[in-house]
Every structure is written in C-alpha cells, then in structure tokens.
Amino acid sequence: MKKVYPNAAEALDGLLSDDMFIAAGGFGLCGIPELLLDAIKDSGVKNLTFASNNAGVDDFGIGILLQTKQVRKMISSYVGENAEFMRQYLSGELELEFNPQGTLAERMRAGGAGIPGFFTKTGVGTVIADGKLEKQFPTGADGAMEDYIMEEGIFADLAIVKAWKADETGNLVFRKTARNFNAPAATCGKICIAEVEEIVPTGSLDPDSIHLPGIYVNRIVQGTHEKRIEQRTVRQKEV
C-alpha cells in the first residue's frame, strides 16, 4: 500500500467534507501541520470543528481558516494570540470549548486507544466540571476519597500532524518540542495524514527510535515548512 503523496492537496483528496471534526497537532506555532492547513483552506471546506491546543495567529496556522470563516468550533486550551479568533468568538460566529491542556491531550490519547471516557482531578471544583459525571476514588493520603470528573475521549474524522521524518511506511520521528500534540492527535483520527520535512527510505530509521509507529499514519506528504517563531527570545554572549 502506497502512503506517500506528492503534495498536501492530493494527500487530502477524498477525505474532506463540510461539518467534519479534525484533530490537529502543534503547540502555538511549533510543530503545526502548516501545509495541510493551507490545503484545507484552498479546498473551501467549511463548518469545521478543530481539536487543537491553540488556534494559530491571524495569518498562520489555524488562523488562516478563521480568516476564511471555515471553522465553526474550536476545542482548545489557549487561544490568546489571535485577534480574529476573539472577534468571531465575541460576535457569536465561532463556538469555543475550553479544555485544560492535559485533559485535551489525554482526550486525544484516550480516543486513539479506544477509551471513550476517563476520570481526572483536573478541573474539579471549576467551571470545567459543570455538567460532567463526578465520582470519588480512594487516592488520597491513607485511602481518603478524592473527587474526580469524567472526560470523554476524542474520536475525530481526520487527524493532521507534522513530524520531522517519516519512512515510506509512515513510521514517524519528531524533533524536540515540535512533538507536542502531534503524537496523541495522530492516534485519534479515523484517518491520519502526516506532513514531514523529509521522507527517508524504509529501513533507514532505527526501529528503536521511532516515536509513532506507521500503523497510525495513513498518508504522508513531504514539503518545505516555514516554521515560524512566535516569541524570539535570546541571551547575549558573555565577552
């Protein structure tokens, strides 16, 4: 089975439809599937729901799909860097579901692992707990009961992720903190497309050093990434 596609548009061919639910990797602008987001924009598909930790900035990442009003709902933990996002949210055009960051990551992991719900302490006693099933477990000191809330696994129609390298069978290697949500997001889609900086011949990756096995990856596309830096911080060399 051939997984390698010549470009992002062809990698998405036949997979997009209005109202679909997409899980996307990335943290801020780090490790985002920028080529696939561009191609989704060009496809004109609309009413999308995205599970993604952030919403990009106005002209990069998921932000470009907000400009074109292709997004109906975001499931995110932090959306602070995006003025157009705020405008659409405050005017009621865009729905927003805040998830604590670890809850969002675990919802993706759980969905990919076939676990429809799990209990977590995160958000107990806050607005995040509203309407959620609560249960106590004896996890405290000396078996004391503690409160937990149930969160649901994410089962997305499509997962789009960015990795550093792939082999032709879809085994993925990420680089530094660009791994972030890409690994859990990849697992929770019915179909997963990975865009990478380099596709290497099968057999050239060390099998012990593969971060995500190719079983999770259906399609692969190689391309050139802008990899924009959001906050450039440096120190001076001591003389």
């Binding site: 943290f27 995160t122 903190t177 440096v234």
Partner: protein, 209 residues
C-alpha cells in the same frame, strides 16, 4: 518597603529542593530559575513536552522546534528529554512533578486559586494551569499582594472563576510569605521593611497563628 519582582523570585527559589522536578509558570515564576541556590539541582519541566529546560539561545541559534510553554525560544541541556503532550501531562497529573510555581489573580484562605479568566474580558484560556494545580506535589503562588487598584488579592473567597479548589500550599507576595493552614492563612515571613501591622492591613483573608 517590600520585595521587588527579583526579590520575590529569589524568595521563591528558596522553596526548591535538590533533585526536584519543577514547573515554573509565566512571569515572575520564570525569573525563579535565575536564583536557584548553590548546590541545589532542579530539573525544569516545560509542559509542551520537555524536561531539562535550558536558558534562552544565543542570537542566531534560535530553533523553531525548541520552545517553552510561553512559546519562547529556549535551549536544551545534557539531561534533556522530549516527549509528547499526553506524556507531559501524565507526569504532571501523576504527581511526578514536585512543585509548580505559578502566578495568580486571586488566592483564597482555603487554597482556592484563580488565575485564568476575568468574565466579560477577553478570555485566553487556562492552558496547562488547571492540570498543574490538580497534579503536582506542591503549589506555590508568586504574585503581588494587591492589584493595581490597591485591593488585596489574598482573599476570604475568590471572586473570579477558579483554576483549582483548595490547591495552593504557599503564597509569596511582595509583602511576605503565607501558608494555607487549617482555618486560614499563617504568616511565615515578612518582606524586608514590612511590619506585621502593614501586612495584616493589606490582607483580606483570615490570618491565624
């Protein structure tokens, strides 16, 4: 007289113990890494997927694939390990991180913490703050004692939506240090030149001995 930002960060650094894995929030907590005491080795966690966070890179050596949770470019150290977001929060929720040092908008005398949203204003999101306060061993808040209108941020009850309920262990402000104890807050230490009387007058929360 009171502590400035750096003095607050230096005081917070005294909370660190050798061998700990620690998560530092954005703002004054980030400055804590400049004051880690001699002989104390701590490993900094960045919740976007890294243990062993190094300093900012030299100009020209920034790597877009290497950022901290504040999206700033950083560097790695010899002991650095990378992992995905699910594993990052597994170690947070699983209690493997000994301490988080965080900023706050309000803290209440029962340990309630509010630091993520102001209703009616632009809402950015909680990021990883709710997971951190629910999961780490010890939560230390570093913040100004009063807001810019001079109103105490150390309260009987939080007025803002909570980040966590009963989660704060210790509060370090520009005026001193407080512990959350049975029945209220206990003064641990006063900042240089701050009198007991001034401290009490600036604090809304119940103070117990």
């Amino acid at each position: 007289m009171a502590w400035d930002r750096n003095q607050m960060a230096a005081r917070a650094a005294q909370e660190l113990q050798d061998g700990w894995y620690v998560n530092l929030g954005i703002g004054i907590p980030t400055l804590v890494s400049n004051f880690i005491p001699e002989g104390v080795e701590v490993t900094l966690q960045s919740e976007n997927g890294m243990l062993g966070m190094g300093p900012f890179p030299y100009e020209g050596e920034e790597d877009p694939d290497l950022i901290n949770a504040g999206k700033q470019t950083i560097t790695e150290l010899p002991q650095t390990a990378y992992f995905d977001s699910a594993q990052s929060f597994a170690m947070i929720r699983g209690g493997k991180i000994a301490m988080a040092i965080l900023g706050a908008m309000e803290v209440a005398e029962n340990g309630d913490l509010a630091n993520w949203m102001i209703p009616g204003k632009l809402v950015k999101g909680m990021g990883g703050a709710m997971d951190l306060v629910a999961g780490v061993g010890r939560v230390v808040v570093v913040m100004d004692h009063a807001n810019k209108h001079g109103v105490s941020k150390v309260l009987k009850d939080c007025t803002l939506p909570l980040t966590g309920k009963g989660v704060v262990d210790r509060i370090i402000t520009n005026l001193g240090v407080l512990d959350v104890v049975e029945g209220g807050l206990k003064i641990v230490e006063l900042a240089d030149g701050v009198s007991d009387e001034e401290f009490r007058a600036a604090t809304e929360a119940t103070l117990v001995d």
